[in-house]
């Protein structure tokens, strides 16, 4: 079992009322509400949190990025990854991930990641995402080619990491006449790639086709099981048996020394007045061409105010009921997490520990209890359930490095 700490790095000093007045806390919500003095303090708080996570023996620190919104202060995951590469010694640096379609130059992204991998002495896990809809607009990237750019940039990054240069890359969206980066990853064949996601079936299928672990982001137990059903069926088709080493799960968990205090802090998971990304704007969050054509109708009706959000939007109480938010003392939390582990069998587990306006003191307490009490218990449970991480299972980094494929699939993978 690989156990991680995650925070969205909330910009908690923004004016909530201003967000309500504007009606959205995304994309066009003015950055005049961003306070760099508070920003400086908060960034340093987050570094302190990560350093404690390492000190209390947490396996991995999960990082992400978003743009033009208060719910997440990281505008470039690689910046924090670089900081942690230099400041920490043991913990894995898990990017979930770099939004590939936003890269205008994937070769430079490959270089940055290679530098992080070398500086950290091989502790990088390089996840990739499509980026949310509004991320495309915030960075001026065409949403209609999001998935094409994702797949093509992935191919270019992996080739830049693995193929001896110089070589030439002539793609549809990326053309590089000389690819020959003098920074290549320490880990061979290349750093592990994990793929997080929520609802896009195409992403689950793509991850399973690559044999990359898929990280389900705070889905309900039922949704999670459906994701694994789909992943497992694709794995079968590709000629391998998927297991816990292919499965990751991120869940909102706040741990405290009292149940009452934990409950108060857990309510902060709803601090953005709705879904975790805040007051979303339906048109900005799903620009045309960004989503799967099968979801077109549902999102269009939602955008016109004629249907509910296809992504769902549930109350705190409902999320607690569905075990999508867990809070309490270490004993309470371990009991509930055990249920999830038994039901969904992940080999990677990330606890999203602190959000919103949880104080730095309470955040540090949460991380300390996570590392010293919750994770040791979870490790024992994982052992008894035989939930192995990709590292423990020594899983291949990509399908093409598999040594256990069924013969028919082997030929296909070699192509």
């Amino acid at each position: 079992m690989h156990l991680m700490y995650f925070t969205e790095q909330p910009m908690s000093a923004y004016s909530e009322q201003a967000g309500r007045d504007f009606g959205a806390t995304a994309l066009m919500f003015s950055n005049k509400h961003f306070d760099p003095v508070a920003g400086s303090r908060l960034y340093n708080n987050y570094i302190e949190q990560y350093m404690l996570a390492e000190e209390v023996g947490i396996d991995g620190i999960m990082l992400n990025e978003h743009h033009n919104a208060p719910f997440c202060m990281q505008a470039k995951a690689n910046i924090f990854a670089a900081i942690l590469a230099g400041m920490t010694k043991k913990t894995k640096i898990v990017l979930l991930g770099n939004p590939l379609p936003l890269a205008e130059n994937p070769v430079r992204l490959a270089e940055e990641l290679a530098m992080i991998d070398m500086i950290s002495k091989g502790r990088l896990v390089s996840g990739f995402v499509r980026g949310g809809g509004q991320e495309q607009l915030a960075t001026g990237v065409n949403p209609a080619f999001n998935r094409e750019r994702f797949e093509e940039a992935h191919e270019l990054v992996v080739r830049a990491w693995t193929q001896t240069g110089p070589f030439r890359f002539e793609g549809t969206h990326y053309q590089h006449r000389v690819v020959n980066p003098w920074a290549v990853p320490l880990q061979k064949p290349y750093p592990r790639v994990w793929i997080p996601g929520v609802i896009s079936k195409e992403t689950i299928i793509w991850a399973a086709e690559q044999r990359y672990p898929y990280i389900a982001l705070n889905t309900s137990i039922e949704q999670t099981k459906k994701i694994w059903e789909l992943y497992d069926s694709v794995a079968q088709r590709m000629g391998y048996e998927s297991g816990p080493e292919n499965r990751g799960y991120l869940i909102q968990v706040h741990i405290s020394d009292s149940d009452d205090k934990a409950r108060e802090n857990a309510k902060q998971f709803r601090w953005m007045q709705g879904e975790f990304t805040g007051l979303a704007h339906p048109v900005w969050s799903t620009p045309s061409g960004y989503g799967s054509p099968t979801n077109r109708r549902a999102f269009v009706e939602f955008a016109a105010g004629r249907a509910i959000n296809p992504r769902g939007n549930t109350t705190f109480e409902q999320q607690v009921e569905d075990l999508r938010i867990i809070y309490g003392t270490p004993d309470t939390v371990v009991k509930k997490l055990k249920l999830i582990l038994e039901q969904t069998r992940p080999g990677i587990l990330a606890l999203w520990g602190n959000d919103g306006r949880v104080s730095q003191e309470d955040s540090l307490t949460c991380i300390r209890l996570m590392g010293q009490e919750v994770f040791p218990a979870i490790r024992e449970i994982a052992k008894s359930l035989d939930l192995k991480s990709p590292f423990e299972a020594d899983a291949p980094v990509h399908l093409k490095y598999s040594t256990d494929l069924k013969p028919a699939a082997k030929a296909a993978a070699a192509e």
Partner: protein, 261 residues
Amino acid sequence: MAGVDWTDSTRDAAGIKLHVSRAGRGRPVVVLHHETGTLDRLPFYDELAQRYDVLVPHHPGYSRSQRPEWMRSVRDIAVLYRGLLSELGLEKAALVGLGFGGWIAAEMASMAPADLSHLVLVGAMGIKPPVGDILDLAITGYLDYARAGFHDQKAFDRVYGAEPSNDQLEMWDVCREMSFRIAWKPYMYSQTLPHLLGAVRAPALLVWGDEDKVVPQSAAKRYAAALTQARLEIVKGCGHCVDMEQPETLAKLVTDFIGRE
């Protein structure tokens, strides 16, 4: 309108099925629709078909025409339409471009300046407005965007209904996706087009609604400067979609300009 008999056909063009509606007799007039696609029939089309051989192609990737996955620019549409006119044996057509369609018409004119009788650009995109910006589809809702094309909201209701259907919303999304595919950056204009319009000697009529909230009127001045023979007509109390908001007014302007024979 009585007496207008439209024929719909599908033609093979550049690997896709292209939908073309056609009616009327006389001089060929090609009407190029907005980035919101087009309804099958509109009063403006009927008015023109009383006097001319009117062709309304549905742009590739819009309305009833298939999407060419390979297409990357608005100029590609213009080339495809040049091919269509050639296939149909139509020479010296008049081009009437509506909004986004105006951009296509201007590109077509720049490509074959001699093969053109008249050029009509109505609230045309395609040129960077010297003052103001073209309204951004990407951050505007489907209904808000479609309604922004009309100064008189009752005129919108007459065309689309007060509550457009979900099918219509979905079609707007399909059209929007195609616009992103070919006109994302720079958004809805070409940096080179203004420099290529100087060879167009055919008379040009520029029409703008004085309440156009989609393409700033300053773009008309840039077009007027780039074209050698251009005249600007402003339609009072009218938004961007002059063809749908004041069809009779626009039909009269176009007819007077092209001629009645």
